[in-house]
Structures are given as structure tokens and as C-alpha cells.
Symmetry: C2
Subunit: 384 residues, 2 copies
């Protein structure tokens, strides 16, 4: 794997291109380090876990730089700290606040390739912290933004974004370009190609991000602002889905925005992240929650504090039509509803926006519905 | 091992003692990292090897801090850089130039135990470098010096210094205190308990260093200036030895200090480190060289540049009587010579100083001679 990457980078470097590579830990390194920590502390102190985990990416970076040097490419590795990645926050969940581009620029003066350990940085107190989920993607985008005008490419285990999950739909098509907004919708809904954090960062700094497979040739997707010019054209880009969804209905009396605000504050205080929020009837707030989040305690709290009655529907999923100007006439909603009805799918909740039409449906109907929508909206690969 | 250390440190910490621990890499970590590097580059780029190797000690430090935290001790780990270890030099062979004590002192304000990754530091350009041999000992001594007034204890695989190598002599005695000078003589001559670099650093900063076994209770040795008061009293402290020694005789004509200087400059330029140097006859320079050093090329150079004729005697060793005021009357040299003669040991070369009397002898005579000297100088353990 390291040798494959080194071969490819050496090929690109032969043309004289200067590059900054951001790497994550190799293979099972992260698991091994977590197991090592588990031998001595349960749970390990979060700060020390960060000190430990950060070595995983440092090892990858050093090894890749060695492999490049072996191929005659001048390469140096840098820890997140050495690369000027300034972060803040808690261990294991830090966020990048600033990148000092001078450090990497200085290295690029003498080395053709700079390999940066992803997922980590140094805070104002000199503490080494690892980033939260999507930390390597975010490091790459932040460095590209700081360097200015750099192309940013994320290598992962898929060929960019497709029109639906290929494990469900046999004839998906690659999406060549996608806007930041649409990418966030897709990423947030199961097509987890790029972490929403990194997309948000790319949008804010106008960094175009190409997502490609780490080793196989094939299609790739560019996430960029360029597609914004198409924002006015109604277009379906893909079908996203979630499998493990619960639908919560909260009834409060008296009802009104003030009561809803109190419900939301109580949920936020309990760490529940409501998605697809709507209030279909007076006095009822409706939202979905992902399967992994504990629901009992916050619902108990709602009952205690606001005398709210809650119902939780389990074993649900969702399908989303993702695109641009989806509600502009003639609109894609009528067709979505027609397809759902044609398949006799019950829809206990639906939310809509210009970029996403989401139907909450039974979990066991997700696969067939995704296939039906993919087909109906003409996303299937052109096999002529 | 980590748990044993953590248990012991927790016991000491229970009394309220604040501590700085310096750790090296665990078990076979260093070998595994070298093997990993070898998979991708042969030889690996020295700078990258340092970036890689430094993670070994960082892992140890984080894991020990976790284990301490698990035992209710407030502990934090620091990389060499985070601990303010400033170094200069080449990768794999850097030297500590300064320690910024503020960094560790600040940590000791909030944590009772600070665990520092040994063997590493950061240079003025922000490069991470590992220290040469003895790097962990040296880190500990440098930190003790920087913190001022701290006790320094080195835990290793022996119970301090003994009067001779216990693998050769059955009834050695522990040496309770030893001066810096004597320790350097012993360390340089095979009793490699503490690296001479760390002893030199301890002397320069007046740091008393206790050397003890890492896990077993037992005797220990304090290396300190305190013994200097005994410097005037003739005393034999121990018998050191070397096994793999070659004796080189260089004959130059015309002879004289100037010619000798040219010989030494040529040798230094070839990386040969002459030891036990003497010039017994006009025109002949005599010195020993350790077995691992390549001798052919420098001797060829001497012949070319200075028309010097050289003879190399192989399969030699050396025994040294180490102590204080060794040449003061009545002197230990006569007894040494008498013992060597009594055992019919040939002595092709001998050098003497107040702290060391060294005889170059056949390698196969080393063991019996060490035992005879240990016995004759009354160093044997008092078994009454």
C-alpha cells in the first residue's frame, strides 16, 4: 500500500510537481494503539490517548517519506504540529482553527514532497490533540486552503460520489461535479465519501476537492463552487438513504414556537441531534434520530420538564432525492410521491427543501425504494 | 513492565513526591520500527528514520502516563519537544544543547508526574532529532540539571556498578559511591552502566546520579562529586576489561611530536579512535583500537601520506585497575606487574594514569587476569 502510493506519487513528481500529502494511520495501527492503551487503563486518559494515537499518523508519514526518498524524490515528513496545524478543543475531537502555511511552504523550498501526519495538531497551550471524525480529510482541505491555489485531492475507498449506493442499485452513475451544498446533503445522508466538516471547510475557503479511489483508476468527483452556476436548474443528482432511523413525535400543550424552542433546548442538552424536523400539526414536533443515539433519558426529561408526550417509531429508514432547485416548477415532489404510492410505501414523515426531498419509510422498504427512485429519476448508467 | 513501573511510581507518589520520568521505547519497539523502515527504503533517509523512531518513546510515555492516571496519579506525557529538550546535530546522533525547564515546571504545577519521551528533542529549525547512544540517560541528567536540585535516578538492567564484571568474577562487590571521573573510566572500559556522555553532563552540572536496577531491589551506585574528597586517597575501586582489542604500532621516520600529530590527524580523519596511546620508543606510536573499527584503509593512508610502517596485533584484550591516586606511593603498579608476571601474561603495551592502570594482554587471558586482580586488590565480597 505504501509502496503503491509511493510509486504513484513518484510518477506525478517526475513531472516536477510539488506536493503536500496528508496521511492517516496504516492498516490496523489505530486499533493496535487502542488495544495497547486498553492494556494499561480503562478507560485511558483522553489526553494521553491523543498523545498515543498521534504516533500512528506520524509513523505513516515517516514511512511514506522514506519510500519516496528511496525512489529518488526529495521528501520530508512532518507531524501536524511541525506542519503548522493549529487546533483547539478537546482530546479526540479538536478542530483546526488556523494553519500556518509558512512551515509547509518553507519545506517545499527544499523538498519536492511534504508528507503531513493527518488528524492532529497543536493547540495554543502546546498540547497535541487529534481531530474528530473526518480529521484527515479536514487536514488536507485546511492545508490546501492555507497554501492558496493548491489542488486538493482526497483518496479514499470509493471512486468519488455515485448517484446512489452501488450496493443497492446495480447501475449507478459516477457524479463528475457536485456543489458543496449537495455534497453535504449526500455526505450527511449515508453516502459518506467526504466528512461534512471537510466539505464545509472547502466551501468556506473555495477549495475544489477531487475525490478519487486510493489505488484503482476510474471515475472521480470534483466538489466545487463551479456547479453553483447550475444551482437554478432543477436537477436530481442522486438518491441518498439511511437505514437505522427512529421517528420521534413530541406533543406539547400549550403549543407554539416558545414550547418548541424549549423542547429543542432539552434535546440539545441531552446530546440528541434531531434531523428532518417538522411540525405537521399544531402541538406536535416531529423529527428523526439515528439508531445509535440513546433516546430514553431525554424523552423522560421532556415528560418531566414540559409535560410532553412522546411517541417513538422504530425500524424506520429514509430515502432522499438530492439535487438542485428540487421544488422549482414543475418540481420533483409530485413524482416522488407518485413512486412511493406506486410501491405502497407508508411515509410517516416527509421533509423537503430545494436541495433535498426526504421521506421517512419502513427500514425494510429502503432498498427497493432507492432502486425505484434511481430508475425513475433517470440516474441509471447509460448502457447503450 | 509498564504496570510494574506504574505500581512503583504510584507508591512513591503516594508520599506527595513530584516526579519527572524519562522513558525509552518498550521491548522490541525500536527493532520493529527499524524493520518497518527497512520494508520501504534501504537505507532509510536518516531524517525520516528519526521521525519514525521518535514515536517509540512517545508511545511508552503516553502508555505510562495512562497507567499512572489509572492508579489515581495525575500524570501527563510529553514528547522531547514538548518537554523543552533543545538539541542540535545530525539525525540519530543529536546532542542536547539546552533544556527549557519552564515547560516541565509548568506541567508539574498541575500534574504530579510528568513522563518525558527520552532520546529526542527539537532543533532550532524545528526538526525532530533523536540523540545518539546513551540518549535516554542523557535526557534524564539534562532534565535534572535544568530543574535544579532534583534527584536523578537511572533504572537499568544492573544493580549499579560492581567491582568487576560479575560474569567473570563470582564475588564482586557493589560500589556505593563513585566519582564522575572514575565512572567515566569504568563506563568507557566495558562496565557500560551509564553512557560516558551522561556522566560527563552530570559532572558539568553537579547532578548526583543514582544507578539502580529497574525492577529488583538491591544495591545501587551513586555517581557524584562527593567522592572527590577521597580523590587524594590511593584506592582501587574496580577492575574493568575489554575483550576485542587490537594493538597498532606505527613507525614513522623522521619521528617527533610533529609527525605524531600528523599520524593522529590522519587517523581522526578516517574515523579511527585510538585509545591507550603511548610512544614507548622514538619513532613508534602505539595505541589500541576496538574490534569493530575498520583499520585497513587508515593504515594504507598512513603508509601513503607519511611513509609510516604499521603493525597490527590481533586477538588482544585489556584489563584496567580503576581507582584514585593509583600512582601515589606506594602505588598499585608494582603489584599489578607482579600479578601479571605471576600468571605469565604477556603484556605488549601498558598505559597508566592516576585513575587507571591498563595492560593490553592476550584476549584469552582476560578472564583469569580479571579474577586474579579482583582478588589481589581485596575487592572480593566480604563473606564473613
Amino acid at each position: 500500500m505504501v509502496n503503491d502510493v509511493a510509486d504513484e506519487v513518484a510518477g506525478i513528481a517526475a513531472a516536477g510537481t510539488r506536493m503536500v500529502l496528508v496521511v492517516s494511520a496504516m492498516g490496523d495501527t489505530t486499533d493496535r494503539l487502542i488495544a495497547l492503551a486498553g492494556e494499561f487503563a480503562e478507560p485511558p486518559a483522553p489526553r494521553e490517548l491523543d498523545q498515543l494515537m498521534a504516533t500512528g499518523e506520524q509513523v505513516s508519514a515517516a514511512v511514506l517519506a522514506m519510500a519516496l526518498t528511496e525512489r529518488g524524490i526529495e521528501a520530508v515528513s512532518l507531524s501536524g504540529d511541525q506542519a503548522g496545524i493549529e487546533v483547539s478543543g478537546e482530546p479526540g475531537a479538536a478542530a483546526i482553527v488556523r494553519v500556518d502555511p509558512g512551515k509547509v511552504v518553507a519545506r517545499l523550498g527544499s523538498a519536492q514532497v511534504v508528507v503531513v501526519a493527518g488528524f492532529q495538531g497543536r493547540d495554543a497551550d502546546g498540547e497535541l490533540l487529534t481531530l474528530g471524525r473526518g480529521g484527515s480529510d479536514t487536514t488536507a482541505v485546511a492545508l490546501a486552503a492555507a497554501l492558496g491555489g493548491a489542488d486538493c485531492e482526497i483518496r479514499t475507498d470509493v471512486h468519488g460520489v455515485r448517484t446512489a449506493d452501488p450496493r443497492i442499485v446495480p447501475d449507478t452513475r459516477p457524479v463528475r461535479t457536485i456543489s458543496y451544498d449537495t455534497m453535504v446533503e449526500l455526505a450527511g445522508l449515508g453516502a459518506r465519501v467526504l466528512h461534512p466538516r471537510s466539505v464545509e471547510l472547502a466551501r468556506r475557503h473555495g477549495v475544489a476537492v477531487r475525490v478519487a479511489h486510493s489505488s484503482e483508476p476510474g471515475p472521480s468527483t470534483v466538489v466545487a463552487a463551479g456547479e453553483a452556476s447550475l444551482e437554478g436548474t432543477p436537477r436530481v443528482i442522486g438518491i441518498a438513504h439511511e437505514r437505522d432511523v427512529r421517528l420521534v413525535r413530541v406533543q406539547v400543550s400549550p403549543s407554539g414556537p416558545d414550547q418548541y424552542a424549549r423542547v429543542l433546548a432539552t434535546l440539545a442538552g441531552s446530546g440528541v441531534r434531531p434531523e428532518n424536523l417538522s411540525w405537521p400539526d399544531p402541538g406536535e414536533l416531529r423529527f428523526t434520530v439515528r439508531g445509535s443515539e440513546p433516546l430514553g433519558p431525554p424523552i423522560g426529561e421532556l415528560a418531566m420538564e414540559l409535560e410532553a408526550r412522546s411517541t417513538v417509531l422504530e425500524e424506520l429508514g429514509s430515502v432522499s432525492v438530492v439535487g438542485t432547485a428540487l421544488l422549482d416548477p414543475p418540481g420533483f415532489l409530485p413524482e416522488l410521491l407518485r413512486i412511493l404510492a406506486g410501491h405502497r410505501v407508508t411515509v410517516p414523515s416527509m421533509t423537503t427543501s430545494q436541495t433535498r426531498l426526504t421521506a421517512v419509510i419502513p427500514a425494510d422498504a429502503v432498498d427497493t425504494t432507492v432502486r425505484a427512485l434511481h430508475d425513475a429519476f433517470g440516474l441509471a448508467e447509460d448502457t447503450r
